[in-house]
């Protein structure tokens, strides 16, 4: 009898309806990809953006981490059931899951980082892309100006469009600074193999390259390590990688996922959700930039030049190429 009452009371405690707070603050949730919210990369940056929005736009923010790729649909649904006004999928890996959820719940607003559904974007989804070529252009400009051997290197992860935008933006920036500079290019065919990155970097250094830029995820750790050992210069990607080699990483081409997220949430708050479109954020929106530590690493005169260049790009006075075709056109305009 006693036992039964204990069990009964447990059931009572656990089954009382859970009431979600019913205030009218905007609710925004995000689902991370398998990297998790402390990945030192775009998931973390995304959460920082939401926290900023929480403070400045007075919204309610929450996140849900994914452990496996199969978690994406379930996590999107968890946030859907929690009554969020906008649900973020962080990273192109979630594209299929976001698309499916958006079709199932046409009244729910979704947004995704690093993916464009193109013409097929559902009316309740915003895709967010970054003009990576603009940051890479500045990085290339700095690299060419800093190079003493007039030879610089680029190491890409895989030959895919998103890496091409880094590659050709970088090349264009370098040639814009100094048309005589030689750019060595190679793909590592991996985003994880740091040892391979180091081997490619050493090879480029032996061919006289003294500034190396990478767009290859963890492969880049090897590139920066090689630069550190041989005392050459390196350029980081996505976040400020100066801490990896404080004397060697002269700048980093930043992707400010946080600013892009903040931008979209601010739009939503204003009642201006751009559903059905893909937003391309660049220098103008503060979504792409170079690292703040750059100012300590390069001469003041060059920094002034870079800042003028930044303004020119933001004003649309220079069109930065993001693929090979556009690059060839761009290269012809240079002397």
């Amino acid at each position: 009898m006693k036992l039964q009452s204990i069990i009964l009371s447990f059931v009572m405690i656990f089954s009382s309806p859970f009431a979600y707070s019913a205030d009218k603050a905007l609710r925004v949730g995000m689902v991370t990809d398998v990297g998790g919210v402390n990945d030192q990369s775009f998931n973390q940056s995304a959460w920082e953006g939401l926290q900023k929005a929480k403070k400045e736009l007075v919204i309610k923010a929450s996140y849900q981490e994914s452990k496996q790729d199969a978690d994406y649909p379930a996590n999107l649904e968890t946030l859907f059931d929690a009554g969020n006004d906008l649900i973020w999928g962080i990273g192109f890996k979630m594209a299929d899951a976001v698309l499916k959820a958006a079709k199932q719940n046409p009244k729910q607003k979704y947004a995704i980082i690093d993916f464009s559904f193109g013409d097929k974007t559902p009316a309740n989804v915003v895709g967010v892309m970054f003009k990576a070529e603009e940051g890479a252009f500045l990085a290339g400009f700095i690299a060419a100006k800093m190079s003493k051997t007039n030879t610089i290197g680029f190491i890409g992860g895989m030959s895919v469009p998103i890496i091409h935008s880094f590659q050709y933006g970088y090349k264009a920036g370098a040639k814009y600074a100094n048309n005589k500079v030689a750019v060595l290019e190679q793909y590592s065919e991996s985003f994880t193999d740091a040892a391979k990155g180091k081997a490619i970097a050493n090879q480029m250094i032996s061919k006289n390259a003294d500034v190396l830029f990478h767009a290859a995820g963890a492969v880049g750790d090897g590139v920066i390590e090689a630069a550190k050992e041989k005392n050459k210069m390196a350029v980081g990607v996505d976040r400020d990688q100066n801490y990896l080699a404080p004397k060697n990483v002269i700048t980093s081409s930043l992707k400010r996922v946080d600013n892009a997220i903040f931008e979209v949430v601010a739009d939503l708050k204003k009642g201006n959700f751009k559903g059905g479109t893909t937003q391309n954020y660049g220098l103008k929106d503060g979504a792409v930039d170079i690292a703040p530590t750059t100012s300590k690493m390069i001469p003041a005169a060059l920094l002034t030049e870079v800042n003028t260049l930044k303004k020119k790009i933001a004003d649309g006075k220079i069109k930065i190429p993001s693929d090979e075709k556009a690059y060839t056109v761009f290269a012809k305009t240079l002397k």
Binding site: I13, F18, A74, T78
Partner: protein, 367 residues
């Protein structure tokens, strides 16, 4: 009565310990458990998700439990899962037959390859005396990198992604997959709340396959002489050898069956839930969770079934604390780990239960 009290005490102390951990991190335990309870059972779709999540756990748990009965510690469920998933994804893309042929064929091929993969460890143990814990751990990594290599091969790799192509729709074991998003389906479902909710997740035949496997393994272990021989090897290989059982052969066979079960887990995951495989940076843990499932279920088929559901429920509903109460996922993992830990060590409570029972009996005697 004693057994029931024992399990109840284990679960309660596990939950209390979990509550302590939550409390120490400044999160209300009552609130957290409430979120978990609601997040697990308050909607049909949640129950469907738990079923989906538990399927793989039940099968890998069964795999570990089966090998354990023959005295083998199958750490390799993870690798066998990957091989099963890879085979299902590969042939699911390559073949274009009608579902009635395609599904059994792909399932059979996954079972065979994973069975071979598991058998490899058993064979190495039997033939060369390589300890199965070492070999299966190594085989896990070989499976992981082999799978990553295969995903990137031309024709199988989906361009510009880190995943393989999707399997052909005829390989899918998801219930009513096309119908539920079609116009007719969504109109009909709009009037049927329960089914609409229940079918929203990728509900699939995997759970029935898992149930059939549980029954088959139970029959093998307790109703056949083959199973008896396997268990005899588990109790004492020397005695079994003396009784005329070919111990080496039995070890290989046992690992083959264990491998097959994990392979089926991987195949149902691909055919029912994910529909493709991706490049893995690390092990996803389906096989390693199987070890916990097996141990909680005291290495019996039906035990694996129950504990598979239990762990599946904990894992699915535990995640919900994160967005609701802003708990870090590490904390949730620690809490789930603590609950499992307490449930896995009933021995700790056995003595105190005996004392309590004695006290109660004594009191009743005095009254």
């Amino acid at each position: 009565m004693k057994k029931f009290l024992l399990s109840l005490l284990c679960v309660i102390s596990g939950l209390l310990f979990g509550a302590l951990i939550l409390k120490l991190s400044g999160i209300s335990a009552v609130e957290a458990y409430k979120v978990m309870w609601e997040g697990a059972f308050s909607r049909p779709s949640y129950i469907a998700y738990i079923m989906i999540r538990s399927t793989a756990l039940i099968l890998t748990g069964l795999s570990v439990a089966f090998a354990f009965r023959t005295g083998l510690f199958n750490i390799g469920a993870e690798g066998q899962f990957i091989i099963g998933a890879l085979t299902a994804a590969y042939f699911g893309c390559a073949f274009h037959f009608s579902p009635w042929l395609q599904i059994p064929l792909v399932l059979l091929l996954s079972t065979l390859t994973a069975s071979f993969y598991g058998g490899l460890a058993g064979f190495m143990k039997a033939r060369f005396g390589v300890h199965e814990v070492i070999s299966t751990i190594m085989l896990n990594w070989i499976a992981l990198y082999f799978s990553n290599f295969m995903v990137m091969t031309e024709g199988f790799h989906k361009p510009n992604t880190e995943t393989s192509e999707f399997i052909n729709p005829t390989t899918s074991i998801t219930f009513l997959e096309n119908w539920k998003v079609s116009d007719a389906g969504s109109t009909w479902l709009a009037q049927h709340d329960f089914l609409r909710e229940f079918l929203r997740p990728p509900v699939n035949a995997g759970i029935f396959i898992a149930l059939i496997c549980v029954i088959i393994i139970w029959i093998i272990l307790s109703k056949t002489s083959f199973g008896f021989k396997l268990k005899a090897v588990g109790f004492s290989p020397e005695a079994a050898r003396y009784a005329g059982i070919n111990v080496n052969k039995k070890m290989t066979q046992s690992m083959m069956i264990a491998g097959a079960l994990s392979g089926i887990a991987g195949a149902t995951h691909v055919m029912g839930v994910s529909k493709n495989i991706a490049i893995l940076a690390a092990h996803e843990g389906y096989g390693f969770d199987g070890i916990a499932v097996s141990l909680i279920g005291s290495n019996s088929p039906f035990g694996a079934l129950l504990s598979g559901f239990f762990l599946g429920t904990l894992k699915y509903s535990g995640q919900k604390i994160q967005s609701a109460l802003e708990a870090p996922s590490e904390l949730i993992s620690i809490m789930i780990g603590a609950i499992i830990f307490f449930i896995a060590i009933p021995v700790l409570f056995e003595k105190s239960i005996n004392k309590i029972l004695k006290l109660i009996l004594k009191n009743e005697g005095e009254n």
